[in-house]
């Protein structure tokens, strides 16, 4: 049965009329039109579909969209600061943590949740934080380095504002 609900994605309320059995990933991509979140396995194994629900990671391919109403959903589009890349995105590029890029949105979401909960994670903690995200290309080392570098940057006191 189709139901009208509102999903709050990246601070924007989106009214959608959807079948109650629809998964969150398909609604975000096809109804809302935000295609940064990827479908890899569609089976809750790979993490390409990772989004944040109230700041915590969820495999959106295997989560009912109706169950996300009233919650704050953040997708990869929501981590951009205006047109500027999030430091995690910049560091993934700089460190060579992106090859085909298919896993990257999910990696960024898991890493964002990790750094929010634990601003200075150990390497082991980073690997655990990313353990639900598969990458077929990079071998992970450079992804871990990008997260370490981001944590270090965010820990530095902000540069004094100019002027």
């Amino acid at each position: 049965m189709s139901e009208s609900i509102v999903l709050n994605v990246n601070g924007v309320p989106y009214p959608v009329a959807i079948d109650q059995s629809r998964n969150l990933l398909s609604v975000i991509r096809t109804e809302i039109g935000l295609t940064g979140t990827k479908e890899g396995c569609d089976d809750c194994e790979c993490g390409a579909c990772m989004v944040l629900l109230d700041g915590r990671p969820v495999n959106s391919c295997s989560y009912l969209a109706v169950q996300a109403q009233g919650r704050t959903i953040t997708t990869i589009e929501g981590v951009l600061e205006g047109d500027t890349m999030h430091p995690l995105q910049r560091n993934l590029l700089d460190e060579g943590g992106v090859q085909c890029g298919y896993c990257t949105p999910g990696m960024v979401m898991s890493a964002t949740a990790l750094l929010a909960a634990n601003p200075s994670p150990s390497e082991e903690e980073i690997r655990i934080g990313l353990s639900g995200n598969l990458c077929r290309c990079t071998g992970y080392t450079k992804i871990v380095q990008a997260v370490q570098r981001t944590a270090a940057e965010l820990a530095e006191p902000a540069a004094p504002a100019e002027g």
């Binding site: 049965m1 089976d43 989560y63 009912l64």
Partner: protein, 295 residues
């Protein structure tokens, strides 16, 4: 299909009485439906916003965990890690951070997979499960909850509301570990939970061991001796292998599981005894001691 969101236990029980099935995190229900294991129920009532199901209480009587408490809450709870360590070990092994965020203890035990990672811990920690319906509430010892793979004694109109664990006696410790082929997003090849109470001389005064992924349900090992720790560990290994009724599947043969569960049971007893002796071993034991992973 219909989907409603309950904000109180009463609302959920009314929905169940009308034929709805509960969904907590959906990490078994939705994933299973997408696999074609069982279609999504026609009527679902979401219980993940019921605040009273999401609380952890520790008092003189012991520990009460709401059925809607997530694995990551259990994994991070300092008192659970200190006093009911095996449960924290089990929750910390579930899936990935995302799985632990959405997955609940109530969903884990009501889904009744023989490979579930909290079950053996709950058995050795003598848990009792609270089941509520519009007709009232009853308490069921955890060992009577599972009636087969995916089957429980929970009636269709009942909601699991909490899991109660008594405070362990002094000089006690517990541990749960599993044999795994990789460090995350894994299902136990075999698993074992153990709870040990030490006598003043360091010998074993009491011990319980339960096994996962080697029988249609979680099973407790019968006939364990007390006394010398090394001897108790050897007996646990022999009895676990003897009493296991494993199957062969893509993950392991029955013979391998029967052998491996003995090894894992002995390691669980020894880790529990170290904790009983006051040693602090981080949660989960698998990672802290590197004794579960095949690598």
């Amino acid at each position: 299909m219909s989907f409603t969101i309950a904000l109180t236990v009463e609302e959920a029980l009314t929905a169940l009485a009308r034929g709805a099935r509960p969904i907590a995190g959906g990490s078994d229900l939705v994933v299973g439906a997408r696999h074609g294991k069982a279609p999504l129920p026609d009527h679902l009532v979401a219980i993940d916003r019921i605040d009273s199901l999401r609380t952890v209480t520790v008092d003189d009587g012991g520990l009460a965990i709401g059925a809607g408490v997530s694995h990551d809450t259990i994994e991070r709870h300092p008192q659970i890690a200190a006093n009911w360590s095996a449960l924290a070990d089990g929750s910390a092994l579930v899936g990935s951070p995302a799985t632990r965020h959405v997955g609940t203890i109530g969903g884990n035990i009501c889904n009744a997979s023989p490979a579930m990672d909290t079950g053996a811990a709950l058995v050795v920690l003598a848990a009792t499960v609270e089941l509520a319906s519009v007709g009232g509430t009853r308490l069921v010892p955890i060992g009577e909850l599972w009636t087969g793979p995916g089957r429980t004694a929970v009636r269709a109109d009942e909601l699991c509301t909490a899991v109660h664990l008594p405070s362990p006696p002094a000089a006690s410790g517990s541990a749960y570990l599993r044999l795994e082929y990789r460090r995350a997003m894994e299902i136990a090849v075999v698993g074992a939970g153990a709870a040990v109470t030490l006598a003043p001389g360091g010998t074993v005064a009491a011990v319980r061991v339960a096994l996962s992924a080697v029988a249609p349900t979680i099973v407790e090992v019968d006939g364990l001796p007390t006394g010398d720790l090394a001897a108790v560990g050897e007996a646990a290994a022999a009895l676990a292998s003897e009493q296991a009724r494993p199957i062969s599947d893509v993950r392991a043969s029955d013979r391998y599981r029967r052998h491996a569960v003995g090894v894992i049971a002995r390691r669980a007893v020894l880790a529990a005894a170290r904790r009983a002796g006051g040693e602090s071993i981080a949660v989960p034991v698998n990672r802290a001691l590197g004794i579960g992973a095949a690598s």
